[in-house]
Amino acid sequence: MTAPDPASPRPPRPLLEVRGLGVDFTGPDGSPLHAVRGLSFTLRRGETLAVVGESGSGKSTTALALTRMLPGTGRITTGSVLLDGQDLAAATDEELRAVRGARIGMIFQDPMTALNPVLSVGRHLDEVLRAHGERDRAARRARAVDLLDRVGIPEPHRRIDDHPHQFSGGQRQRILIAMALAGEPDILLADEPTTALDATVQEQILTLLADLNRETGTALVLITHNMGVVARSCARVLVMYGGTVVEDGPTAEVLTRPRHPYTAGLLAAVPRLSAPSGTRLTGIPGSPPDLALLGDGCAFAARCTLAEDRCRTGTPPLVELTDGVRAACLPAAGRTEPLPAPPPPARIDRPAPGAVVLEAEGLVKTYRRRGVRGAGFTALDRVSLTLAEGETLGIVGESGSGKSTLARVLAHAHPSDGGTLRLRGEDVTRPSRRALHAVRRQVQMVFQDPYASLNPRMTVGQIVAEPLIAFGLGDRDERAARVAELLTLAGLDPAVADRHPRAFSGGQRQRIGIARALAPGPSVLICDEPVSALDVSVQAQIVGLLTDLQRDLGLALVFIAHDLAVVRQVSHRIAVMHRGRIVESGSADEVCEHPQDPYTRALLAAAPEPVPVQHTPRKAEALA
C-alpha cells in the first residue's frame, strides 16, 4: 500500500502505519456519526506529512485517534494504528501512556487554552519530564531551561517560573512545542498549530518546526486547513474529505497536478497573492459534508462537477495512480492524464469607482485600561481614508492592528475619540440621534462571526426584517416581500425565513448577515473579516457574492481581512494597518507588487502560498 519514494530507499517497515481506521461519534439523536472512515496512510522516520482538509474532513479527529485521545463519545470502530508494529488501537491504557509524549508528541491548535493557567511554565515541562522517568528534580529543571531555549524563548532562566498568561500567543505555542519535544518523540503531531496565530508569527513557528525536523529527525505530521502551510512545510500531503483520504502524494506533485477533483477545487479556491486585483475566486459549490447524512458513494460527489452516476453508489478505493500518488476517485482511476487545468480565473467586471461617499480624517480611538491610570491602549492613531461609490477599500492587518475598531468606528458602532467622519461631504462624526438614524440607513455592516452576530432567539425572517422595522420601512406585507427579496439577493431560499440561525452552516449564516445589512438599502457596506471564519471553498462564494452585489447595487465596500491575498483580489485599493495606524495605502496591485513599508513587506513575505517549495526564495528577497 505504501508509496515508494524514489528519492530515499524504502525502509523495512514504516514508523507509523494506519490501516482502515474508522472513528464514530454518537450524534445528538443517538445515531452514529462516522467521522473517519477507512483511513489508511503510512509515515516514515523523519518524514514531513501534511494532512489537509476543511471542517468536517475528520483531520483533527484522526490526529486524536492516533493516540486514542478522542473526546466524548468518540471511539475507534475499525482498523489499526501500528507504531513500529505495535497496534495502538488495541493497546492498554498503560502502554498508550508510554507512547504519548515519549514516542508521539502532540501540539494543539489554540495556544491560549492549551496551557494550564495556574501552573508555571517550568511546572508544565517538569511534569512531562517527570512522567518520562527523569527522577532528579534539578536535572529536570536544567533540561526545561534547555528546552525553552531550544524553542526560542528568550532568557529561559528568568522566564521559567512565569505563568502562561505572561507570554504572547506565539511564545505559548513555542512552550507547547517544548512540552511535545520533552519526551524526545519520534513523531511530532501538530494539529493546526498556527491557525490561531498571525501570519508573521505563523512563519516563525513553521520555521521552528522545520528546523526541529531537520535537526532531531523527528517525523512531523502537520494537520492544517491551509494549503499555503502545506506547501511551506511538508514533503508529502494527505488530502482529507468527508472523513477519508481522497488524495495522497508528494506535495509538489499534488499541488501542481492534483488527481482528485476536490484537491483541484480546493487549490483553485485558495486566493493567490500573485493574482491581480479584480480576479474572481473560484469556489466549490455547496457546503462541507454533513457527517450524519453521508451515505454510500464518494463524499464529494454532491459538490463535484465531474461526478458520474457510479460515484454516488460505490465508495471509491484509494488507488495508486502514478509514482507515489494515490487518489480515491473512480473516474480518476481511468484517467491517464491529470485533471484539466482549472479555467483561468475570471475577471470581476466592475464599473470604475464614482464620487467619494465616505471620508475619514485623523480618527483616534483609545481604550482605557482597567485599573491603569494615564495613557490607555491606542486602537486607532490618526487614521484617514476615503471610499468612493462602487469602490472596494481593503484593510489588512494582524490581530491588534486596530482594523476591527476602525470598522466599528466607521459604522458608528463605537464613537471615535477624535478626527472627523464625513458621509457625502456632511460631517457625521458626532451625529444627533436623528442624523445617526439617517447615517445608519446609508452605512451598514457585515460581521466576522456568523454565529455570534445573529440573535439566536429570532428567526431568519425576523433578523432580516429588524432593520426594516427600525427604519419604519413598509407595512407587514411589504416587509415580508422585501425579506424574501433580500434573501434571494443573498443567495438563500426565501422559504428559510421562519427558521432559526442554528439550522444553517457558517457560509449560509454569513449570507443571512449580508441580507440583513442590505435591508435598509445602504450605499456603504463595512465588512469586518466577513470570510475569516469560513472554509476556503465557501470563502470564495461569499467573496463572489459581495463583489456581485457591489456591481449590481453600486455599493462602496470596506473589506477587512488578515489575508492579504483575498484582500488584493477584491479590492481596488488597500490600506495596511499596524498598531493602530495605516502604514501604507495605495492601489491593490501596487501595494502587493511594490510594498514601501517594511511591515507590508514582512506581511507579504509571511503569507504562505500554495505553490511548491521553489516559491520560498521570494521570502528572502522580499526581506532583503
Binding site: A35, A495, A503
Partner: protein, 301 residues
Amino acid sequence: MTPTPDLAPASPEALPDSLRKPVGARKAVRPRHPYRAALSTARARTGLVLVGVVVLAGLLAPVLAGHGPTDQSGQSLAALGTPGHPLGTDDLGRDLLSRVLYGIRADLGIIAIAVPLGAALGCLFALAAAAHPVADTLVQRVFDLILAFPGLILALAVTAILGPGRLPVVLVIALAEIPAFGRLLRGGILVQREREYVTAARVGGSSGPRVLVRHILPNAADPLIVQIAVSLTVAVFIEGAMSFLGVGVRPPEPTLGSVLSQSMPYLDQAPHFAAGPLITVTALVLGLSLIAEALNRETRR
C-alpha cells in the same frame, strides 16, 4: 483565521449551495423550546407532580380539611388514623391534617407575594445597574450590603425592627431574593450587551429600548427561570426557619414551619406529630429542586 471546529455538531446542511442557486436548510427543524424540553424530562415531571399535589392540597384546604385549623377537639396528641383525625391531633387537640393543609395555604400565600416581589425588585436594580456606571456601583454595594446579612441573620434584623408576623417573613424572603435575581440579570445583560448580535442590531438602526427589550433581555433572562425555582425552595426554607426561631407568622395560625416546630418537644412520645409537615415540606422542596435542576441542565447546554 478563526478555528473551525472539525467535529462540532455536524452542520445540518449538505445540499448544494452554489452561488447562483437559492438554498435552504435541510429540514424545517423548529428548535424545541429549551424550557419545554426541560420540563418534559422524567426528573422535572416527578418534580411537577410533587409540587402540583402539594399546591392543590393547599388550594383545596377548605374543602379537604374536616376542621378549622385552630379548632380544638377534646383529645390531644391523638394517634394516626383516629376517626375524624386521619393524621391525629396536636398537643392542643387540633386536627393535624387541617393544620397541615391550612399551613400549606399560608406558606403559598407568603411565597406567592414574596418571591415575585423580590424578583421584581432585583430585576429593577439590575436594569438600573445596566443603565449607568454610577448606578451600577451603587447597586453593587446595595447587593453587598444585603448579602452581608447571611440567611437568618437577615431574619433576626428584620424582626428586630418589625416584630414577629407575616409581614417580616415576606420582607425577609423578598430581601434575600433581591441580590440573587439582581446579580443574575445584571451579569446576563452585561454579557449579552457585548455580543456581536447586539452591535448588529444597533448598527441596523434599532433604538436603545428596542435593543434592550427585543435582543438583550430575552437572551439574558435564561438563568432567571432557573432562579425562580431555586428561590421558591429558599422561600420555604426561610418561612420554616423563622417559625422555628419563633419570629414567623404568629400562632395560632398554622404554617408548615410552625406545625413542625410545635412538634419538636413531642418527638419521643408522638413522632407522628411531625410526620405531616415533614412529608409536605420535603415533597414541596424536593419537587422544586428537581424542577430547578432539570431547567438548569437544559438551559446550560
